[in-house]
Amino acid sequence: MVDKDSSTSEANTAALPARRLVLKMAAGAALAAGGRKMLLGEAQAQKAKLKTLVIASPSTPAGLDRDKDLTQISQRVVKNVYEQLYEYPLVKLPNGLMGVDPNGFGSRFNSMLAASAPQISTDGRVYTINLRKGVKSRYGNELTTDDIRYSWQRSFGIKVCGGGFVLPLSGCTGMDNLEIIDKYTYRISLKEDNYLLSRTLENECGPPVLDSTEVRKHDNSDDPLAKQWVSLHDAGFGPYQVESWTPGQEITLRGRDDYWGGKPKIDRVVFKEIPSSADRLALLIAGQVDIADELLPREVATAAAQKGVKVDFWPMATGFDALIHNAKIAPHGDRRVREALNLAIPHDQIIEKIYFGRATRWDGVIPPAHEGSISIPRKTDLEKAKSLIEEAGAKGTTLELYYGTGSPVHEEISVALQTAYSKVGINLELKKLPDSVFVERLYKKELPLAIYRDAAFQPDAGYALGLWYPSRSFFAFGQMAMSTSDADKANQAKIDELIVKGTKTINDADRNQVWKDLQLLIDQTQIFGYLPLPGMTVVRRDNIIGAACYNDNFYRVYDMDKLTT
């Protein structure tokens, strides 16, 4: 169980009657005179000996359930606590940094909780997986196939990440796809061809492998599927465990001595909540924290110029910013208007003036980090944009562009777009919404034009295309299916067809051809405006080494070390 001593005792104390509180205060004072100081001193000395990494983070986690707590900080923490069956191998990239190999994804995996690569039947429909033996959770329970069964059941019960889209996209729609062979072996059987499972066995959004022995103790009618408990406690098999957690202040992880891969080099990790990005930068420069997360591009540029601070930048990451056209709201149903607005995007200006060079042009319809993506060069062409606007009869039209308050960089991009669009005869009104409202209205397809940031964690074309572009997608194409334009509807039907066809194509060459045709078709529709890709950035003190870029755009503390200065 998570050691939440401080918060628990605080809560208990607050419930004490005043008389007991007075006694407790007196006891505290007595302790001061006695041996308490010595004990405190020893504890502090012990703590000082540990190698501690302090990360300035915009918040503490909302929860620790990998199946449903999807905020950035939750994911950043749980990726150090939970572990998957497989992981893509890290390689040294051309820029000298470590990252997943962009040219060799396929089904090449490092085995993590699995003992070896999956054995795949010749027809590609049956996967047999052996678990690593002797892997234990922090509670001392050994990893077995019972944990896999429970994790799947729970994931399908929650239906958000693993059971909500990763497993269904991979052809697994329920527990009947899973068969337990013995304590360490299980089998996944597909009812029809689906190559994606060979990729998503690695997926960070797949069902998290939980210590079912521990979680089941809390899975009851008061807390079905132990949703509350798993949100507040860690139950994984990863290299770190939660040591303490004070919401709104900090969460501390402790490296596990009994981790199967060996004790982590960094003993403790403190995610300290510092809401203001300016404060996070100041603390990093002053050397009071080791890493500052989620700085604005301008602050990253400032940090890069400081002594003792290093900025690692990986241009090849899966995160993206897209301009989403809502085809069911005029004039975005007119392809010419969409193309004009996309042609007017000032790519170079955004990269240089807003990202200070730490972004790359998005040449394609999915980021190039996805295996199977093709390059479709983007350029700014104001003349062509102007003539398309005139041709569509939209000159002088006022459009609304929406973005969320949580993304200051989107505000800067919106201003750049406003200036660019004014040159092609479009007045752009900027509308900033609170994040929760923005997400809700985007989901309900009420926003005519919006900037949204997201990522498809699986670096595979089929996964990304299947996530963002089918008509059942919550995203842009759901709107295109409702477009007043017959051409849009026809294109959407063709896109849906190609996504299904590609997913069922097992042969790599044939499938890549389908993905190529699909990407070219998507580009013709102009339903997205492809804004520069922000990549992944880590801003750290120069004695912190080993950060690597994973396909989910998060670093893992287990790879890192802190050198003595």
């Binding site: 401080s6 918060s7 005792s9 605080e10 809560a11 104390t13 607050a14 509180l21 407790k24 205060m25 505290g28 004072a29 302790l31 001061a32 005179a33 308490r36 100081k37 405190l40 502090q44 703590k47 000082a48 909302a62 929860g63 449903k68 999807l70 239906k159 958000v160 990440c161 909500g164 889209f165 509350q228 949100s231 507040l232 919401p247 709104g248 202040q249 900090e250 403190v270 300290k272 909540e273 510092i274 809401p275 203001s276 404060d279 100041a282 603390l283 420069i285 002053a286 009071q288 919404l433 609170p434 994040d435 929760s436 409202v437 997400v439 809700e440 989901y443 996530l467 919550f474 995203f475």
Partner: protein
Amino acid sequence: MLLLVSIVVFGMVRLLPGNPAYRLAGLGASAETIRQIEVDLGLDQPLPFQYWRYIQHLARGDLGRSSYTHQPVSEELKQRLPATIELLTLSFVIAVMLGISVGSFLAAARQGPIARVTERFFNVYGLLAGAIPEFWLGLILIYIFFFRLGWLPGPIGQVDLDVGAPAHVTGLYLIDALLTGDWDVLKSVMAHLVMPVATLVFLVAAPVIRMTRASVLQSLDSDFVHHARRCGIRESAIARHALRAALPPIITVVALLYSYLLGGAVLVEQVFAWGGLGQYSVQAVVVSDYAPLQAFVLLAAVVSLITFLVVDILYAAVDPRVRL
């Protein structure tokens, strides 16, 4: 009164745009998932039913559970309240002492060049205090005293990370560090309090100074003071009586300040990563987390009601006419 407040709070929070179910589900979620989350949170029920359930829980002291952190709100309030109380009370006490002392001094020394210069200085200060946003002042103090001069610790919460929180007795770090005799922690806690307290004091001391000066001046010009002087009563005794006569309007301003401080703490806590109730409420607003938001507003209402009660009691203590 509290029942009325609870209805207003409940209604206003529900009027806020944004459905937490969409945020909790994430963009990739199906309509079925969103529906399930709405059911889990009770958002599928009619508003009167939701309110009735809220009141039932409230009567049992149950403030609900945060849909964001999944923890009971009452637990989270208990964790975060001491940090805010410490910050507000210290700021309040310093602001009031400073305000009454300076205001009385300005009223007493109303003539002469020094008095005129001091008065102008405090006039300018009053204008600045009314115009400067608290978060901006906080950031400027951080830039100067932490980043540039390095005299004070950075905005990393209530205590240095390598020192850690004191052993828990009351939850108030300053008090706990004193009680346990942990001097390193005490030093760290005091250093961390300087900038946020200075920010709040700078902003709220101005109205106390202004009101004290005006009220004491009026009191010094009143008939009973002139009469006392002509009777040859000592100036110190006259000043004491004049100050007491000036107290009612000062008490009103001071009382309002505590509620104002609670509002001001929202942004100051955010800037200094204080981890108290203010920061908690900002997070609740950002993520449309109804239960913590309701609890915060209800708590603020309770603080205001208690404050006004205390004002009435103090009025009776300092102004004999009230007791007539």
